[in-house]
C-alpha cells in the first residue's frame, strides 16, 4: 500500500500543518513516510508545495515521479493546476475554491474552475465558507484534509486521532472544532469516492 500526495498552496497558507497530520496518522499505523517541503524564499507569498509519500513499504525517493501522485490536495484553486503533470491517470485532485490573489495577473476564476472540472477525478469545494459556517474560520485546511481523506488510504479514525494528537496542546475545544471541520470536508467527498 502506498499513497503519494502533492500538497499545494501559497506560502503562509499552512500546507505543512496538513502534512503533519497525515504524517502522524501514517506513522501511527507503522507506515513509512518521506515528506519534501518548500522552505526559504517561496514562503514569502510564492507558490509552495510538498511531496508527501506514505507507504507500508520502504520509500526511496523524496520526490514523487511524474504521473505518480494519487492525490493533489490544494488549498488554492490555481495552485491545484500547477502540479498536474504529477497526477496519475486515476488520481484525485481535491482543491479549495477560495482564491488567494496576491499577483497582478491572476486568471479568471471561472476558467480555472472549468479546467479543474475537466479532470476525470476532481473535488472542488469552498472550504473557507464551510469552515466559517461552522464557526471555525481558521479551520479551512481541516475541511480540505477531510475532503481528501477518502483518497489517502487512511481510515477516518486514524486521521482524527492524529488531529487530536497534533492539536492536543491547544486544548479540547480546538481539537473538537478541527475534527468537526474535518468531518464536514469528509462528508463532502465521501459520496464521491467510489472506491
Amino acid at each position: 500500500m502506498k499513497t503519494d500526495i502533492i500538497l499545494a498552496g501559497v506560502g503562509g497558507q499552512g500546507i505543512l500543518s496538513i502534512a503533519a497530520i497525515v504524517g502522524a496518522a501514517a506513522l501511527g499505523k507503522g507506515w513509512n513516510l518521506k515528506q519534501a517541503e518548500t522552505h526559504g524564499m517561496s514562503q514569502r507569498g510564492g507558490a509552495v508545495m510538498s511531496h508527501l509519500r506514505i507507504s507500508d513499504q520502504p520509500i526511496s525517493s523524496d520526490l514523487i515521479p511524474l504521473g505518480g501522485a494519487d492525490v493533489i490536495l490544494s488549498v488554492e484553486p490555481m495552485e491545484s493546476l500547477r502540479y498536474l503533470p504529477w497526477l496519475s491517470s486515476g488520481g484525485w485532485l481535491v482543491t479549495n475554491s477560495t482564491v488567494f490573489d496576491n499577483i497582478p495577473n491572476y486568471p479568471d476564476i471561472n476558467a480555472i474552475t472549468e479546467e479543474i472540472l475537466k479532470l476525470p477525478h476532481a473535488v472542488l469545494l469552498d472550504a473557507d465558507t464551510i469552515a466559517r459556517d461552522l464557526g471555525n474560520a481558521r479551520g479551512s485546511n481541516m475541511v480540505m484534509l477531510g475532503a481528501a481523506a477518502p483518497f489517502l488510504g487512511l481510515e477516518r479514525e486514524e486521521i482524527t486521532g492524529a488531529i487530536g494528537m497534533i492539536f492536543r496542546r491547544k486544548g479540547e475545544e480546538i481539537v473538537r472544532a478541527n475534527i468537526a471541520a474535518f468531518d464536514a470536508g469528509y462528508a463532502h467527498s465521501s459520496n464521491r469516492a467510489a472506491r
Partner: protein, 535 residues
C-alpha cells in the same frame, strides 16, 4: 526502535548533539538554517549549554568553531554553499592546520537555486582542501554521518565536510538515534604550534596533509557507506552519489535493478571500487547532484575509453536539481506525465509581505531619485531584494552579501554619483561594515540605506547581530553623525523619507540612512510565542 520524524537538516543537528559537540556556529542561509535552529531549542543542548548563538557571518562562525576545536572540544559549523565562499579562507587553512577536537562542516548546496544566487557544488571545496567529504543519501545517513563524522575528524585530525542539498535538508523522514556521547574535556593541542601557519611550519603541515591522502582514500574504499552492488547486466554500471541513489531505486520499485551500482557517499572517490565497477560493465552512468565532479574525474580516468555518461553529454541536464524522472530518461525508460498544466496558470513568485516597511522605503526612494534616473541603486541579499520586482523596480544589483556598499563605491569612483547602496541590517553586519570603512577613508559619494527590520527576515526571522548597534557602528567607522539619519518606513512618513533621501543625496560624502521598522512576520511570531507561554 523509536523513530523521530526529522528534516535532513534536523537529523544533522541531532547527530551532532548526540555525537557530543560543545558548540554549533553558523550564519543562517537556506537550506542550512534549520540545523542550528534545531539545536537552539533542543532540551539536551540547552541542558548541556551547547554554544548555539548565531555568528555574524560564516567566516566568524568557522573560525570560532576552529577555536573550539583548538580547545579540544567537538564543534559543528553550518552554512549554505555560498557561505563557504565567505569562510573559504579559514576552511582552506584549517585543512593545513588540521583540528584538535572533532570539527564537522555541514554545508548545504542549493541546486536549481530555489533560494540562492548560484548552484555551486561544495564537494569541490572538500577536494580543494583535500579532506573527506560525506554526502548522505537520506535522513538516517545524515544523522549517522554527522555522529561518525565527528569521530572521523578526530581520528584523522582533519575537518570533515558534510555536504547536503536542499532536497535532503528540507525533507522529513524517520530517524533512529544512537547513544548520547559525552562532550570532550578541555585539552590543548598536543603540538602547541599546530595552529601556527608561519611558512616554516605550514610547509611541514602541508606535507602532513599530503601524506594523509592515501589513508583518506583507503577510508573511502573501506567505508560501509560506499557500496558496490553487483548486477546481472554488464551493459551499464551506475555511480550514484548521495541521494541520487534514491532516484535510481525509485525507478526499480517493481523490479530489480539489473545493473551494477556503486553508491558513493564518502569522498575522495573510492578508487578501487570505481575500478571494480568499470571492470564489470561496458559503460558508466554517473548520477550526481550539483556539478559533474565525479563524471569529470572518470571521463579522463578511463583513458582506454569506457564511455562515461552524465551531465556533460546530455544524458542528464547540465544544470539544476535531479529527480526520478531525469534518471528514468537517462535509463531509457519512459516517463508518464499526468495531465498538462493549463496555459492560464500564472507564475506566483515570492513577494514582500503586505505592510512590510521595505515597501515604504522603496516608494520613497523611487520618488527621491526619479529625476536622476535609473541604474544607480546597488543592493544586496535579503527580503528587500524582492524590491527588484514590480511594483517597486527599485534596485539594480544583487550579487553577494555586502556587495551593495562596495559596488556602489566602485561605481561612484567610476563616476556614477550619487550612488546608492541598499542593504539589510543583517547583511550590513555580515559584510557591509568593512566596505563602509573603505567609503569613509576615501570620502566616497555613496548613500547607504540600511533597511533595518531588526531581523534576518529572509531566512525565517532569526535575531540580527545588528540589533541596536547600527548607529554606533556607523559612527565608529567614521561616518559623520550629521549624516547618520534614522527614518521610520511607514506610508505616513513618505514625504519625510523622500526629503531625507534628497538631503543626503546632495551631500558629497558618505551618508547612512537607517530605515527602521520591525519585521511583521517576526512581530507576529513573537506575539504567538508570548501567547503560548501565557497558556
Amino acid at each position: 526502535m523509536q523513530k523521530n520524524l526529522l528534516l535532513g537538516a534536523e537529523a544533522i543537528a541531532q547527530g551532532a548533539i548526540d555525537g557530543g559537540i560543545s558548540g554549533v556556529y553558523a550564519y543562517p542561509g537556506t537550506p542550512s538554517t534549520e540545523i542550528t535552529e534545531y539545536i537552539q531549542v533542543n532540551p539536551e543542548a540547552l541542558r548541556r549549554g551547547i554554544h548555539r548563538t548565531w555568528s555574524v557571518n560564516e567566516k566568524t562562525a568557522y573560525e570560532a568553531a576552529l577555536g573550539m576545536s583548538y580547545a579540544g572540544k567537538k564543534s559543528l559549523v553550518c552554512m549554505k554553499h555560498v557561505g563557504l565562499n565567505v569562510a573559504a579562507d579559514p576552511f582552506m587553512n584549517s585543512c593545513v592546520t588540521g583540528v584538535n577536537g572533532g570539527l564537522v562542516l555541514a554545508v548545504a548546496d542549493d541546486p536549481s537555486m530555489h533560494s540562492s544566487q548560484n548552484e555551486q557544488d561544495s564537494r569541490f571545496y572538500g577536494k580543494f582542501g583535500m579532506v573527506p567529504v560525506l554526502e548522505p543519501s537520506n535522513q538516517q545517513e545524515a544523522y549517522d554521518m554527522t555522529y561518525e563524522g565527528l569521530e572521523l575528524s578526530e581520528k584523522l585530525k582533519l575537518p570533515v565536510v558534510l555536504r547536503i542539498t536542499t532536497r535532503l535538508a528540507h525533507s522529513r523522514s524517520g530517524v533512529v538515534s544512537r547513544p548520547l556521547k559525552e562532550e570532550n574535556q578541555l585539552l590543548l593541542p598536543a603540538n602547541p604550534k599546530q595552529f601556527l601557519l608561519l611558512p616554516a611550519f605550514a610547509r611541514r603541515y602541508y606535507q602532513n596533509l599530503l601524506s594523509k591522502q592515501e589513508e583518506i582514500v583507503r577510508l573511502s574504499e573501506q567505508s560501509p557507506w560506499n557500496r558496490l552492488l553487483p548486477g546481472t547486466d554488464s551493459a551499464l554500471g551506475i555511480i550514484c552519489c548521495g541521494l541520487t541513489y534514491n532516484y535510481l531505486m525509485e525507478n526499480f520499485r517493481e523490479s530489480h535493478c539489473p545493473y551494477s551500482v556503486l553508491k558513493i557517499t564518502q569522498y575522495p572517490l573510492p578508487a578501487s571500487l570505481v575500478r571494480n565497477l568499470e571492470a564489470s560493465c561496458e559503460e558508466i552512468l554517473v548520477l550526481e547532484e550539483g556539478f559533474p565532479l565525479v563524471e569529470e574525474q572518470l571521463a579522463s580516468f578511463f583513458g582506454k575509453g569506457t564511455p562515461v555518461w552524465g551531465r556533460l553529454n546530455g544524458k542528464l541536464p547540465r544544470a539544476g536539481e535531479l529527480n526520478p524522472d531525469h534518471v528514468a530518461r537517462a535509463l531509457g525508460k519512459s516517463v508518464h506525465e499526468g495531465f498538462p498544466v493549463p496555459s492560464l496558470v500564472a507564475g506566483r513568485p515570492p513577494a514582500l509581505c503586505q505592510g512590510c516597511g521595505h515597501q515604504d522605503l522603496y516608494f520613497a526612494l523611487n520618488e527621491a531619485i526619479e529625476s536622476i534616473g535609473h541604474g544607480r541603486v546597488f543592493s544586496d541579499i535579503g527580503c528587500y531584494t524582492l524590491g527588484a520586482l514590480q511594483p517597486y523596480d527599485s534596485i539594480d544589483t544583487c550579487v553577494d552579501m555586502g556587495a551593495s556598499v562596495t559596488m556602489a563605491k566602485g561605481a561612484a569612483d567610476a563616476g556614477i554619483q550619487p550612488a546608492f547602496a541598499v542593504i539589510g541590517d543583517s547583511t550590513f553586519t555580515h559584510s557591509g561594515i568593512t566596505g563602509l570603512l573603505d567609503c569613509v577613508i576615501e570620502k566616497s559619494n555613496v548613500n547607504v540605506i540600511v533597511l533595518d527590520n531588526e531581523a534576518v527576515a529572509m531566512t525565517g526571522g532569526q535575531d540580527s547581530s545588528a540589533r541596536g548597534r547600527i548607529e554606533d557602528i556607523c559612527a565608529g567607522v567614521g561616518v559623520s553623525e550629521d549624516h547618520i539619519r534614522v527614518v521610520v518606513p511607514l506610508k505616513k512618513n513618505h514625504a519625510q523619507m523622500v526629503s531625507v533621501i534628497r538631503q543626503e543625496m546632495e551631500y558629497q560624502g558618505v551618508s547612512v540612512i537607517i530605515a527602521r521598522r520591525p519585521c511583521l512576520q517576526k512581530l507576529a511570531r513573537e506575539k504567538r510565542e508570548k501567547a503560548r507561554q501565557g497558556e
